[in-house]
Amino acid sequence: MKNALRYEWMRLRTLRSTWWLTGLSLLVGGLLGLGALGPKGPLSVQDYGDVLTGGGGAAILLVSILLSMIGVFAIGHEYRYGTIRPTLSALPRRSNVLAAKVIVVAAYVLAVALICVVLRYLVAVLIVGHRLLDVGLFPSSMARVWIGAIVYPVIFTLVGLALAGLFRNIPAAIVTVIVLPLIVENILRGLLGLHVFHAIRGFAKVLPFFAGSQILRYGPPGSSGNNASGGAAPSPIDGLLIFIAFLVIVLGLSWVLFEKRDA
């Protein structure tokens, strides 16, 4: 397993795409939306939440999409460039290869997401100074939002990795990982909000990306930090568990196929 981890870390850091995706994530995650911070007056917890997530989690979602490409490439490149056979010739135990990919990519994305959110906070402090510090380091539910801002991109990225393993095709995995949260889930939530679908409205709660994003929820209903859409949303912890369950299903399926398919 140690060799597989070494191999995967070497694979990840010798790819140019890893570095430009990391740079872009730091740029977007570190700065997006901070220009809107007001110059005067005390800051509320709501403002603090906007600082951390870019307003309703927009910055975190964008960072997640960018970083998920690292997950997609972790398996997608193996099939795109035919390196899966040299990889499995060097490391014939397939479970070790996949486990190493999951561990290394998750650890790397966790570190980048952490740096992103710390960077955001520090840049915000530079912009608004003590007014942000006056709110406290972890006011109200903000400790959870901090954790969410780090964990959500990791799960998102691993979903990308798992989808690339399922499809063995980079474009298909990229389209799915973007279209599912941004378009498909929004359309479904809109439809399920209609009166005619009242009976199955609760289904909206288990849409995985939406459910997962509840970990970033803050502020009162109707505010920029509340994406609960009138109660049809799970609690932040339940939402995170739903997102994790979705990851486990997709990754499990991908794992079984990785073991069963010809390389």
């Binding site: 060799n3 070494r6 191999y7 070497m10 040299p86 990889t87 010739s89 060097a90 390389a263």
Partner: protein
């Protein structure tokens, strides 16, 4: 030594590899031949557990997937240009080396060995097929393995590269190592291999030394020229030889050795002006053995 027992693989209704059993001995280069689609690459993938199928292959007694650092025991080249186009050649090899705890200095050694040291830090997206093949060979040699499994290693190499590869593999095998190499370049295989495994439509067609394979061909014949060709032909036919007149008093025959023809002519007082062996080329022997086993047959020719 490699032992493959009962290898089998089915794609839908088609048996791509059909109950293949063979051994690859150390000390000689073994050529792996077959027409397009015969199942050579599939067989190699089955041997390495990359494809799932029937049978088992043991490398010095162990299955590939059970070998702890396989690159140190078995060097593998399956396809050219299996690398990421923007990862430098050196980093590609460093990555593979890290999977089997192979020291980095070995990376530089193999790059030099295959003649890629000048492009080691270049991105390989502009590599030619031959350069890609050299990088693949470098990867196979990284762990200084005792066994080499190479699918079309000469593919894309220039004449100098092919000569280098041939000499290298012969020396490598002569040191007591095991080499199995497939190729569709029959003339090249004739120079490189000592032993042949030939398959067609997934079935084993021949497993023997190359000299024996060629000698068994009907294209290997005794040629004899005599002013009394007609009488000699009758005498040879009476003793069970198959004789084909070639004109100018020359006969081509199978079913009798050079010595038997000479002794017969001496005993029957038939003057001989020529008595030689015509050895089949590997190509002639190969085409004869694989006739009817081609997966993709051509139907027309040039007028």
């Amino acid at each position: 030594m490699i032992e493959a027992v009962g290898l089998g693989k089915r794609f839908g209704d088609r048996r791509a590899v059909d109950d293949l059993t063979f051994q690859v001995q150390p000390g000689v280069v073994t050529g792996f031949l077959g027409p397009n689609g015969a199942g050579k690459s599939t067989t190699m993938r089955l041997m390495l557990d990359l494809d799932h199928g029937d049978g088992v292959t043991r490398f010095d007694g162990q299955r590939y997937r059970d070998i702890t650092s396989p690159m140190r025991r078995v060097g593998v080249l399956l396809e050219a240009k299996a690398f990421h186009p923007t990862r430098t050649a050196r980093n590609h090899l460093r990555m593979l080396a890290s999977a089997n705890s192979i020291p980095v200095k070995r990376v530089d050694e193999v790059l030099q060995l295959v003649g890629l040291e000048s492009v080691a830090r270049k991105r390989p997206k502009s590599f030619s097929l031959g350069m890609g093949q050299r990088l693949g060979l470098a990867a196979a040699l990284l762990g200084e393995p005792d066994i080499l499994l190479l699918d079309e290693p000469a593919n894309g190499l220039d004449p100098q590269g092919i000569t280098w590869l041939r000499d290298f593999l012969k020396v490598y095998a002569a040191g007591g190592r095991t080499v199995l190499a497939s190729s569709h370049l029959l003339a090249e295989m004739q120079l490189m291999a000592d032993h042949l495994i030939v398959i067609g439509r997934g079935k084993l067609l021949a497993d023997m030394p190359i000299a024996e394979f060629v000698a068994r061909s009907s294209h290997t014949s005794v040629v004899v020229r005599s002013p009394e060709a007609a009488r000699l032909s009758e005498l040879l036919t009476a003793r069970g030889a198959t004789v084909v007149p070639e004109g100018d008093g020359r006969l081509s025959l199978t079913g009798a050795s050079q010595e038997e023809v000479g002794d017969l002519a001496f005993a029957e007082r038939v003057p001989l002006h020529e008595l030689t062996m015509r050895t089949a080329t590997l190509e002639e022997a190969f085409l004869e053995v694989t006739a009817g086993s081609q997966e993709f047959e051509t139907t027309g020719g040039l007028a």
